[in-house]
């Protein structure tokens, strides 16, 4: 048997042993299978920035067919739902204060008369701005409905000289789910790599079996390979499961190349596993490893573009995100899923991962060797 073959045999043995150990531990099993499911449910269902059925309070001082038709235009759009009506504007204020309504529509007496006489009528929108994101979008919808209504309401249809024809590409219905669900691949693979790798190594240190491994004929490099490869396999498995669920359950489009997604996933695992290894070298207990993972995951997710667009960040933070492997991977995943782009577009992100992976992994491995040796 050659040197290389023996080395391969040793690593294979260790990977098998690790996998057996992982799958035997109920807590790890739960983490591996439950966390993708929970995240998919949360990001497929809970985390939605779509606007529907906005709670609306109406003060109709005009009470004519036209004013009612305006309100119907709102409810008919599907974006708004009337939760209360009143004659007194004070009730509208109270509804906003209590948070029972997000939008208030106030129609003054004489609305129809002014509209039909061509004087031009006003309609007042009051918005609860506490959720800035919702308020911005709701305001846009409300104003558009009002303008469209006004265009057709008068005796003479009102011609607007410029017509804006909008087409949203890649995600024609603007569903936030299509953007969020593929990204779960990125967070899960990171979580698995950070948490499981560091916990597995630190646990061996805690119960004292790391010393046993050190006296075995495994070289440190083989040991690191044996410790990380199982989690790489689990990460890839999670990636495929999430992709399948995204396609079949959430109807997320997949327009790109699956082989490219797989290779990008492998590239992404390198920096992720490297970070996990690094955490294991700075933590002496599993508890510490868990907290360290939490402290690393938090900024990694927040500065990845997962929920908050990178392009809206201040320049300094935007540059900072270039060091974040998750940012590059999410661009790749979303590009492949939604845009169907290939290497010609994504090479920069792939190159960034290809540089980051070995760098972090080598650094972590050298620290690990120093600690082990």
């Amino acid at each position: 048997m050659g040197q290389g073959e023996r080395r391969f045999e040793r690593v294979k043995e260790m990977v098998q042993k690790e996998l057996r150990q992982i799958l035997r531990e109920p807590r790890l099993r739960r983490l591996i299978f439950l966390s993708p499911i929970i995240q998919l449910v949360v990001f497929g269902y809970a985390v939605s920035t779509d606007i529907r059925h906005t709670r609306t309070f109406v003060v109709d001082g005009d009470r004519t067919r036209t004013s009612r038709a305006l309100i119907d235009a709102f409810t008919g759009s599907g974006y708004f739902r009337v939760v209360g009506r009143s004659d007194r504007p004070a009730d509208l204020v109270s509804a906003l204060d209590h948070g029972t309504a997000i939008l208030g529509i106030e129609i003054q007496p004489g609305f129809t008369r002014r509209l039909e006489s061509g004087q031009g009528a006003d309609v007042q929108f009051l918005l609860d701005g506490t959720n800035s994101n919702v308020a911005t979008v709701v305001r846009g919808y409300a104003e558009r409905i009002a303008l469209d209504f006004g265009r057709t309401a008068g005796d003479v249809p009102f011609a607007v000289p410029v017509d804006l024809r909008e087409r949203a590409w890649y995600n024609a219905d603007l569903k936030s789910r299509n953007y969020n669900v593929p990204a779960v691949v990125g967070t899960i693979m990171m979580l698995i790599s950070l948490l499981l790798t560091s916990l597995a190594i630190v646990r061996e240190r805690e119960i004292g079996t790391l010393e046993q491994l050190l006296v075995s004929p495994l070289t440190p490099r083989e040991m690191i390979a044996g410790k990380t490869i199982p989690f790489a396999l689990i990460g890839m498995l999670d990636m495929m499961v999430i992709t399948i669920v995204a396609l079949l359950w959430f109807d997320v489009p997949f327009r790109g190349n699956f082989a490219l997604l797989l290779s990008a996933g492998l590239l992404y695992l390198l920096p992720a596993l490297g970070l996990g290894l690094l955490i294991s070298t700075v933590s002496s207990t599993q508890q510490e490893a868990f907290l360290a993972t939490f402290l690393v995951m938090m900024p990694t997710i927040l500065l990845s573009g997962f929920m908050f667009p990178v392009s809206s960040m201040p320049k300094v933070f935007e540059w900072l995100t270039l060091l974040n492997p998750m940012r590059h991977f999410l661009e790749i995943v979303r590009g492949i899923f939604l845009k169907g782009v290939g290497i010609d577009v994504l090479w920069k992100q792939l190159a960034a991962l290809a540089i980051m992976g070995p760098t972090i992994l080598l650094f972590a491995a050298s620290r690990f060797k120093r600690l082990a040796g």
Binding site: S48, V123, N131, R139, G154, S176, P309
Partner: protein, 374 residues
């Protein structure tokens, strides 16, 4: 019956403080994490969309078409990132993510403006990020509307038949900071309360000091309250720090009563601390305790409280779950006090629920602790 002696209570509290001071991780969680989160959320993270990269194909090349492009730039939300000759170039830029919107002005745009039918321009959006695209779309419409209005008004005193007048309350500039910072108070309370306290009893178990604690002549109530006091102090300090930094650094308004904020924060903290203690007693190992605390308190407070994602659009089962999450009510309180400036008259339901939460949390903590020692 349970006794409550001040000297013994303070002795337990002092012991807990000494232990806390020696535990670097806990201190990081207690003081560094809130500030880091505040800076991240305050500076880096925003849903506000501005400076949208615009790609333009101007096939018309007239005064009118240039004015339309200027209307986009003048709105303050767009900058022209690229000018292309053909729309295929624009498609390429959209694919690469270099531009978010492509504006295509066809030949004959200026001429069509004078016709009855009007001119049309095309806007191509990168819709992959639905949220940003939706907001950008709104700004694009507004820019076109402004332009159209100007053309109409040029000759005659004509105005739109229906003029929407929008006014935004509580957060007039619609800045996401004003939304995030008051919510962050609730999230950080949860981290402090649940994640820190969850360690306090499991630590005693792991180090074998639980028996010693049981053997000392302190009542259970004294142990529970004594253990909670330092964390209550940390939590309230954090509220003050976040509120002050939020107001000074990020110009978040505090329109309501600071006293009411502190009172209800105390109630929320007591409930969460009790919950953390229960988790800690149930888990017995620090690792399990942290994980449980994370899954049962921090994540729901983060995702299902309305902190960042509106509860209204969640599916019914998740909405139902959100009613069980105390952070949901506390969030209404913090936003109400910070932004709306409302008081007890509006917040009394939430206030009562938080006080009930505090009572249940403390009661459960004492009960669970009783069982543990005997």
């Amino acid at each position: 019956m349970e006794t409550l002696n001040r000297t013994r209570l303070l002795a337990v509290a002092r012991k807990e403080i000494i232990q806390l001071r020696r535990d670097a991780r806990s201190l990081i969680l207690a003081f560094a994490l809130p500030v880091v989160l505040l800076v991240l959320f305050g500076y880096a993270i925003t849903w506000d969309v501005n400076d949208i990269a615009l790609g333009v194909v101007d096939s018309d090349r007239t005064q009118a078409s240039r004015e339309l492009i200027n209307a986009f730039v003048a709105s303050g939300y767009f900058h022209v990132e690229a000018r292309c000759e053909r729309s295929s170039e624009l498609e390429d830029l959209l694919e690469r993510g270099r531009v978010r919107i492509g504006l295509v002005i066809p030949v004959g745009f200026a001429r069509d403006l004078d016709f009855e039918s009007g001119a049309s321009v095309q806007a191509l959006f990168d819709g992959s990020d639905a949220n940003t695209a939706g907001i950008a779309m709104g700004y694009a419409r507004a820019a076109v509307q402004t332009y159209a209005m100007r053309i109409l008004l040029k000759g005659q005193a004509l105005s739109f038949p229906l003029r929407p007048q929008s006014r935004v309350w509580y957060n007039e500039d619609l800045s996401s900071r004003n939304m995030i910072v008051p919510g962050l108070v609730a999230v950080i309370m949860m981290i402090i309360a649940a994640m820190l306290t969850s360690l306090t009893i499991s630590r005693e178990w792991e180090r074998g000091t639980m028996e010693q604690l049981a053997a000392t002549p302190v009542s259970r109530l004294e142990v529970v309250l004594g253990k909670l006091l330092p964390y209550l102090g940390i939590g309230l300090i954090d509220v003050l720090v976040i509120a002050t930094l939020g107001m000074v650094l990020f110009d978040v308004p505090l329109r309501g009563s600071p006293l009411l904020l502190m009172v209800l924060s105390t109630a929320f903290l007591l409930g969460s601390l009790g919950l953390g203690l229960v988790i800690s007693a149930v888990a017995k190992s620090q690792l399990l305790a942290t994980q449980l605390a994370m899954i049962t308190t921090f994540l729901p407070a983060f995702l299902l409280s309305g902190f960042m994602f509106a509860i209204d659009v969640m599916p019914a089962p998740l909405q139902a779950i959100s009613y069980l999450i105390p952070a949901r009510y506390f969030l209404v309180v913090t936003r109400g006090i910070f932004l709306k400036g409302v008081g007890v008259e509006v917040l009394f339901v939430q206030g009562l629920l938080l006080i009930a939460f505090a009572a249940v949390g403390l009661f459960a903590a004492v009960r669970v602790f009783k069982k543990e020692i005997i």
